[in-house]
């Protein structure tokens, strides 16, 4: 392979510098991995030539597991150990999971996130998702016969912080270096926009297996600016299957009594739904323990029994337009994403609302993974000439609980990320020395109606009269859409800080333990892997520093220059050691030692961006 690698214009000239970066669409019903090869994004097939991996994991007695097609085929025979639609469980407690009683496997309430009871033990949705991600990672590594540099993983735009964090944890558990989490509709827009060289305002209607997103984007010269996003992270094709299944049962006067019945019924409903996208009338035959279900149904009947679901998506569409302060006429086109947009009723309803034929010229199953691959290629630095820029937003407001169970909003929804916003709070009792902070996400005014993300305490406030302390709470949302909260009493300088993780995500120790349990087996492997990773990081750092020095070395005084040169030489020397720890330490030292230089470079970059454009100089 490497012998034939020829570089494309605008790509890294040295094949050894080309990094393999992939985009992964981790979907409710199926998942895909894509990469940019020879300048074109394409989905990677498995050994059998299939690009779609069903998002299904079956656990076997004795620790084995089946993933994808094989697991899917055993879903009806072994429903209790075959986990499908695990995305619906990510970052969710038992009380949050809709239709938990309708799932053919047993859910357990666990702190933060549900678990599934299987023959191989209790599994967290994060572990199940990691199995799917690891399968795609191996597929990519086999394709390129090389290690992956990193991956961009897509999440529904409407995913909250807990769901995003769970996804990132799963990727980490699967041994992936997450370059970025990006939103599915935004990824679709990249694939779409770059293909069609579109400019203007577009709506992305993304109805997947278990989630619905609607995003409004403005496309200008390679900048993908999300103006507003909305949706429902628990509404998708699965719900259409369920509504149809209910209708069929009622029509036939039967009931689904066992987990096998449930699994067969859902599979039958899904098959009928898919057939109805092609045919006007179909027959469904499903064997249940209470009798045989055998009936014919037509498209009108299907559309009637699922009308409430379609209406829910359209109400989200209207809301997002109001958020964007746009009218339907200002939207240039609407792009359809997700397998569920194959339903004629969806295309018709969306088309009528926007007054234009929806755009469907890219495969709705693949478009998200393709867009993620394009972004991954750019983030890996393989396309230095590329001027693709994503300016995404947070989907749901973030706030703090105040007196009386009310929410004080700190970051409003649809704020462009990364962002940092602060608000001042005070004590309400004389001599109060601690303040409990409860971080929530959602649009409702009552804490009880929002999602609880984390609780933490700021302690050691010096005793003062009520209302005298000034506690500044700062919310920082990074480019992955993940939240970090810090609090600081302004007079005394007492600080507290939290990455919003503990209540829903996994701790680093838990991740390490899971890694030991399921993936890396021998201690030796772990050490070898740590060493490889430390060297890769070191190389990356040296390369980045060298190119920064080549470009902007003139900003440094001779003394500053020699300090950086020294740190770089130290890292190059440390790299040859057979131990990860000193390499990591030298990498950190170089990172710290170049921080001031990075700041100077940024100042120069910003100045250059403004140069020549200032008609009215300040």
């Amino acid at each position: 392979m490497a012998l034939l690698q020829i570089s494309e214009p605008g790509q890294a000239p040295d094949p050894h510098q080309r990094r393999i970066a992939v985009g992964i669409d981790l979907g409710t019903t199926h998942s895909l991995v894509a990469a940019v090869r020879n300048g074109v994004a394409e989905c990677l097939p498995d050994a059998q030539g299939r690009v779609i991996l069903p998002s299904v994991v079956r656990y076997l007695a004795g620790g084995g597991r089946q993933i994808g097609q094989e697991a899917l085929e055993n879903q009806t025979s072994d429903p209790g150990n075959t986990i499908a639609s695990v995305k619906r469980l990510m970052g969710r407690g038992l009380a949050d999971v809709a239709h938990a009683n309708r799932m053919p496997y047993a859910l357990l309430d666990a702190p933060g996130m549900v678990k599934v009871r299987t023959i191989a033990g209790e599994k967290s949705p994060v572990e199940v998702s990691a199995e799917i991600l690891a399968t795609l990672r191996y597929r990519a590594e086999d394709t390129f016969n090389d290690d992956l540099y990193g991956a961009v993983i897509t999440v529904p735009a409407y995913f909250d912080d807990a769901q995003r964090q769970a996804t990132k944890d799963a990727a980490q558990l699967a041994g992936l270096n997450v370059l970025r989490l990006i939103n599915e509709p935004t990824a679709a827009a990249i694939a779409y926009g770059l293909d069609n060289a579109s400019e203007g305002i577009y709506a992305i209607y993304d109805l997947g297996g278990g989630t619905f997103d609607i995003s409004i984007l403005r496309l200008t010269q390679g900048v993908f600016e999300v103006i507003a996003t909305g949706g429902d992270s628990a509404l998708g094709g699965d719900d259409y299957d369920r509504a149809l299944a209910d209708w069929m049962l009622a029509e036939a006067g039967l009931s689904a009594e066992t987990p096998e019945d449930q699994a067969r019924l859902m599979a039958g409903a899904r098959a009928a739904k898919e057939a109805l996208s092609m045919e006007e009338i179909v027959t469904a035959e499903i064997e249940l323990s209470s009798g045989s279900l055998d009936l014919s149904l037509n498209r009108d009947q299907f559309e009637a029994c699922t009308a409430a679901l379609t209406a829910r998506t359209m109400s989200a569409v209207r809301k997002v337009l109001r958020d964007a302060r746009l009218t339907v006429d200002e939207v240039q086109g609407v792009v359809m994403v997700g397998g569920s947009t194959r339903m004629p009723v969806i295309r018709r309803t969306v088309g009528e609302f926007f007054g234009s034929e929806p755009l469907i010229n890219l495969n709705p199953d693949e478009v998200v993974a393709l867009g993620a691959a394009i972004q991954a290629n750019q983030l890996a630095g393989n396309n230095p000439a590329g001027d693709l820029l994503l300016l995404d937003v947070i989907p749901l407001s973030l706030g703090i609980e105040t007196m009386g169970g009310l929410v004080e909003r700190i970051v409003p929804r649809n704020q462009t990320i990364p962002t940092a916003m602060a608000q001042d709070f005070t004590t309400y009792k004389d001599g109060q020395t601690a303040l409990a902070l409860h971080v929530v996400q959602g649009e409702r005014d009552l804490v009880a109606d929002c999602r609880s993300l984390a609780r933490f305490e700021l302690r050691g406030i010096p005793p003062m009269a009520a209302g005298a302390a000034r506690i500044r709470v700062t919310f920082t949302v990074d480019a992955d859409g993940l939240l970090n909260v810090s609090a600081r009493e302004q007079i005394s300088g007492v600080e507290a800080q939290i990455d919003v993780k503990p209540s829903y995500g996994l701790g680093d120790e838990q991740i390490a333990k899971m890694l030991q349990d399921s993936f890396a087996t021998a201690q030796e492997d772990m050490r070898a892997r740590a060493l490889v990773e430390a060297r890769v990081d070191a190389d990356r750092m040296v390369l980045a520093t060298q190119s920064a020095l080549d470009a902007d070395g003139d900003l440094l005084s001779p003394q500053e220059r020699s300090t950086i040169d020294g740190l770089m030489a130290a890292l190059v020397a440390a790299r040859t050691l057979e131990d990860a720890a000193p390499i990591e330490a030298a990498t950190d030292a170089l990172a710290k030692g170049t921080e001031a230089f990075a700041a100077m470079r940024m100042n120069r970059g910003i100045r250059q961006a403004l140069a020549g454009k200032n008609i009215e100089t300040v």
Binding site: L179, S315, G381, T416, S547, M602, E616, V618
Partner: protein
């Protein structure tokens, strides 16, 4: 130019209320092209930390500059007369009377058409207040008076939010029928 520069300096714009929204948008994108963390993802942690700081700062400035109300409040603050909305809520009686009339109309409204009508009134009041702001800030340079207008605009803005919330609720109710 530094993280401490004010929003106008950072965006290379004249420090005044009158601005061209398209120019602000274009400048925002130019700056993010330079500073966004995605541009530094392959360049080590130091560069990424700096990029994050700048990108956050640019977004903060953009939020303030693009919104006329926030821009006006910011200009007042830069000229040493902060708005202090929480501590100072005294407003002229006539203005408060009108607010009450609007509130009553909103409570009585039962259709989207009625809401739209109130919305139209609010929009025109907003336009008028913004024009006054522009004059006070850019021509008369009377900042204490401008602060008064900014406060009025804050009332109007809050009311517009309430109308929107009503529309949202109406839409949700429709869908349940």
């Amino acid at each position: 130019m530094s993280l401490q520069s004010n929003d106008f300096e950072l965006f290379g714009l004249a420090q005044q209320f009158a601005q061209d929204r398209a120019a602000i948008d274009a400048r925002w994108k130019d700056l993010q092209r330079q500073a966004h963390p995605d541009k530094f993802s392959a360049q080590g942690t130091a560069a990424q930390r700096v990029a994050m700081q700048w990108s956050v700062r640019i977004n903060e400035a953009y939020q303030r500059l693009k919104d006329p109300l926030k821009r006006a409040a910011y200009l007042c603050e830069l000229h040493g007369t902060p708005v202090n909305a929480e501590n100072n809520t005294t407003m002229p009686t006539a203005f408060l009377m009108q607010q009450m009339e609007w509130r009553e109309a909103l409570d009585d409204a039962s259709s989207a058409a009625e809401l739209d009508e109130i919305d139209a009134q609010v929009l025109s009041a907003r336009r008028e207040a913004l024009q006054k702001c522009a004059h006070l800030l850019d021509v008369a340079k009377d900042y204490p008076q401008a602060v008064q207008q900014v406060r009025a605009l804050m009332f109007i803005e809050r009311f517009a939010h309430d109308i929107e919330a009503r529309l949202d609720r109406m839409d949700t109710a429709d869908k349940r029928q």
